[in-house]
């Protein structure tokens, strides 16, 4: 409970609905606000394919007893198991990454290399398991292939702005959270839009098809026009914004930071109004690898301002997503 409840005003009515159904007390509802809000977010990148998953997530969330803290993971351990040994025997870590998300996982056309916050994390994992950050085979996988690539053993891990939620933990295993994101408003610097509030009245807002941002506006739009302004990918919103076809964008702030990094004339406005966590995904049942990943993450988060996490944040994200003082706290479950 590091954030005040007043920030979640936009989705509060929905949460109360769930709370009512569950017959929870007010305190429980507040707890649910923290744990369930990420669930309302289907996609790490706000894209279409997750719309289906979102419905499932809600259904699961309605039976909150089965899934309270999806981001809680197995306690860390350095012990080698079959999954880690397989990587060591191969001598290479095969990582499924994105190559479209600026500042996260992106192929720099000048060098042809992948770079970003997610890529740095992959290198840290390879350093820990194999002793060399370069011993990685990167496989660029599209959004719809993330779960399948793991299930078919095409990749060892997926580090791809992937949101941990109740639907997904049934298909893949997640590490502890390595980033906390939320829906936020992106607009030109001189815009009168101040955030997810009344300043949106009468504005044209771009969202990705089937995204949490769209659902949030559908629930509460503050008089903004957003119907018929959806696009297939969140980055398309920046195109529409630059062409003057929309006045503002609502999307995941981690990805919005990538948009702001490509256009010095726009910035993130206000505060995030939802909360969700990114985790490293691996195949369900690879418990030794999950524990090892959590061990790597623990070390990665350490060191405060000079730690590797904060350095990566400073390098890739701070300019456009300022204000983060420390990495998210890991949550563990017993089994």
């Amino acid at each position: 409970m590091t954030r005040s409840g007043s920030r979640y005003v936009g989705t509060g009515s929905r949460l109360r609905g769930w709370g009512g159904v569950a017959g929870m007390a007010a305190a429980c509802a507040l707890t649910a606000a923290v744990t369930l809000l990420p669930l309302s977010r289907g996609a790490g990148d706000g894209q279409g394919p997750d719309a289906a998953g979102q419905g499932v997530a809600r259904a699961v969330a309605a039976r909150a007893d089965t899934c309270e803290d999806p981001e809680a993971s197995l306690p860390p351990s350095e012990a080698d198991g079959p999954a880690v040994e397989k990587i060591k025997a191969r001598g290479k870590l095969i990582a499924g990454v994105d190559q479209n998300s600026f500042r996260w996982g992106y192929r720099n056309p000048a060098t042809g290399d992948l770079e970003g916050f997610d890529i740095d994390l992959v290198r840290a994992v390879a350093q820990d398991i194999l002793g060399d950050p370069d011993k990685v085979v990167y496989r660029a996988i599209p959004t719809n292939q993330r779960v399948l690539a793991l299930q078919e053993d095409r990749v060892d891990v997926v580090v791809r702005t992937m949101t941990v939620n109740c639907a997904r933990i049934k298909d893949v295993a997640f590490s502890t959270a390595y980033f906390e994101a939320g829906q936020q408003v992106l607009a030109p610097k001189e815009s009168t839009v101040k955030g997810y509030d009344a300043s949106l009245a009468g504005k044209r807002i771009c969202t990705a098809k089937g995204s949490t941002a769209y659902d949030a506006l559908a629930a509460k739009s503050f008089g903004a026009k957003f119907e018929g302004l959806t696009v297939s990918n969140q980055l398309d919103c920046l195109v529409r914004l630059q062409l003057g076809e929309v006045d503002a964008v609502v999307t995941d702030n981690a990805l919005a930071a990538g948009q702001a990094a490509q256009d010095p004339a726009v910035e993130l406005k206000g505060e995030p109004f939802t909360r969700e966590y990114y985790g490293v995904a691996t195949k369900l049942g690879n418990d030794d690898l999950v524990r090892r990943l959590n061990h790597v993450l623990d070390e990665y988060r350490e060191g405060g301002e000079d730690g590797r996490w904060m350095k990566a944040y400073g390098k890739w994200l701070k300019d456009d997503l300022p204000g983060i003082k420390k990495p998210p706290e890991p949550k563990y479950r017993d089994n």
């Binding site: 894209q47 279409g48 394919p49 719309a51 289906a52 095969i94 499924g96 190559q99 479209n100 998300s101 600026f102 992106y106 192929r107 720099n108 056309p109 000048a110 042809g112 085979v137 990167y138 496989r139 660029a140 996988i141 599209p142 959004t143 719809n144 292939q145 095409r154 990749v155 297939s232 990918n233 980055l235 398309d236 920046l238 195109v239 630059q242 990538g258 948009q259 490509q262 256009d263």
Partner: protein, 448 residues
């Protein structure tokens, strides 16, 4: 009693003149010279009418055939070129984009040539088209959309050069504009121009029924007049009527044969030229669409999914394009009626098959995570899908050039078959009418 009749005679003088005229005609029809005069006038009128109608009907058809050759078919071909240039520009833009920040010179030039060609052909089409017609509206829409499209492509290039993924988003937006606005407008323009061609063609090959009917009637009239003369005078030939008959028969034969030949040539032009051209144009555009989508699959890198939320949008559009290409090539091969037309189509089919194989391999490479490897397999030189696409495009261009030449040759032949017929018909009709009048006059003089 003498008074009243005088009054009666003086009162209706007009009626008397009218009645007198009728009486005289009646008398004329009952006396031989009178009958001859009427027959001569009728036969001469029939021959003149036959000639005039023939000249009029055939100059109509000749104009329509001329329109087919010089106006509507070239406009239809131009509309197809506009469509092709736009689709080619889109595919060249995507290929150049994929090659990285520094776009290869040849792709850049190809894109610019395509845009220049499309603009020039649009300007040309506009001068031949009413701005309020359906074609005129499509031309106006294309003229508005084209600069917007090129603007988006330039933005895509600028961002790509800076190394920003936003460039890819702009390129996809440009492609969306192209496929949802420009290409449909170009297709409607092509359809409109092609239907004008169809109208001109139908007009050119319509049977000249009135002319043929009048010709038969004139010959029958002349024959009857000659038979009548023969029965009355026992003279076998009346030179004037004979000349009129020969002139009319010549016009009738000329009309019939000329039209049949023109019709056959035009039908040949349409069946073997235009139909092949349409199918080949469709095939070429399908291959261009498939190529643009193949490139965009790599530009989008899995960022955009098809409506079913599972398959990659551009990959599934590529598959649609290749399917359409396969269908069109099969049709084109069935339509190709000579080796020069058939060989390039066979060649294109073989290259398209190879393209499919290489594409599958490139996809497997990309899905395996080797993006750079996949890129080389798509936009690289030898062994790439780009090589196959260029092969398909070149083969189709060759086939199109051949069919266009076939069309022009046959259609020119059709138009040529009607050359001189209107003037010839007019002159011969005058000769025929004069012959009929002189022939009848010759008989008439025997009564003086």
């Amino acid at each position: 009693m003498a008074h009243p009749p005088l009054v009666r005679e003086a009162r209706p003088p007009t009626r008397t003149a009218w009645a007198e005229g009728v009486d005289r005609l009646r008398a004329g029809a009952t006396t031989e010279p009178g009958r001859l005069r009427v027959i001569g006038a009728l036969v001469a009128a029939l021959v003149v009418a036959f000639g005039a109608v023939t000249a009029w009907e055939i100059s109509d058809r000749a104009t329509a055939a001329g329109n087919v050759v010089t106006r509507s078919q070239p406009l239809s071909a131009d509309a197809a070129s506009i469509y092709r240039s736009l689709a080619d520009a889109d595919s060249a833009a995507a290929s150049g984009f994929l090659a990285g920040a520094q776009e290869p010179q040849d792709l850049r030039e190809r894109y610019e040539d395509d845009i220049a060609t499309a603009s020039a052909l649009l300007a040309k089409a506009a001068t031949h088209t009413e701005s309020t017609s359906a074609s005129g509206r499509e031309i106006a829409a294309l003229n508005t959309q084209l600069p917007q499209y090129t603007g988006l492509v330039e933005r895509a290039r600028a961002n790509n050069r800076l190394g920003l993924p936003l460039g890819g988003a702009y390129l996809r937006y440009a492609n969306e504009r192209m496929t949802t606005k420009l290409l449909p407008a170009a297709e409607r323009l092509y359809t409109a121009e092609t239907s004008t061609l169809g109208e001109d063609y139908d007009e050119a090959r319509a049977w000249p029924f009135v002319g043929l009917g009048l010709g038969v009637l004139a010959l029958a009239g002349l024959g009857w007049a000659q038979r009548r003369t023969y029965l009355r005078t026992n003279r076998v030939f009346n030179h004037g009527l004979l000349a009129a008959s020969v002139a009319s028969a010549v016009v009738l034969l000329w009309l019939g044969i000329g039209h049949v030949v023109a019709r056959a040539e035009l039908e040949d032009a349409m069946a073997h030229g235009q139909e092949s051209l349409e199918v080949l144009n469709d095939a070429r555009i399908s291959s261009l669409n498939a190529r643009a989508n193949e490139n965009l699959t790599l530009v989008a890198r899995g960022a955009v999914l098809a409506a079913d939320g599972k398959r990659d949008l551009y990959e599934s559009q590529y598959a649609d394009g290749m399917k359409a290409l396969g269908r069109r090539l099969a049709q084109a091969r069935a339509l190709a009626d000579d080796p020069q037309g058939g060989l390039p189509v066979t060649d294109a089919t073989a290259k398209a098959d190879e393209w499919r194989k290489r594409h599958t391999a490139a996809r497997a490479t990309d899905d395996g995570g080797d993006y750079e490897g996949a890129l080389a397999k798509v936009i690289g030189g030898k062994g790439s899908t780009g090589e196959c696409f260029n092969g398909v495009d070149a083969a189709l261009e060759k086939a199109l050039a051949h069919e266009q030449a076939e069309f022009t040759r046959a259609a020119e032949g059709g138009r040529g078959a009607l050359t001189g017929l209107p003037l010839g018909a007019a002159i011969l009709a005058v000769v025929g009418a004069a012959g009929a009048v002189l022939g009848i006059g010759r008989r008439l003089s025997e009564y003086r």
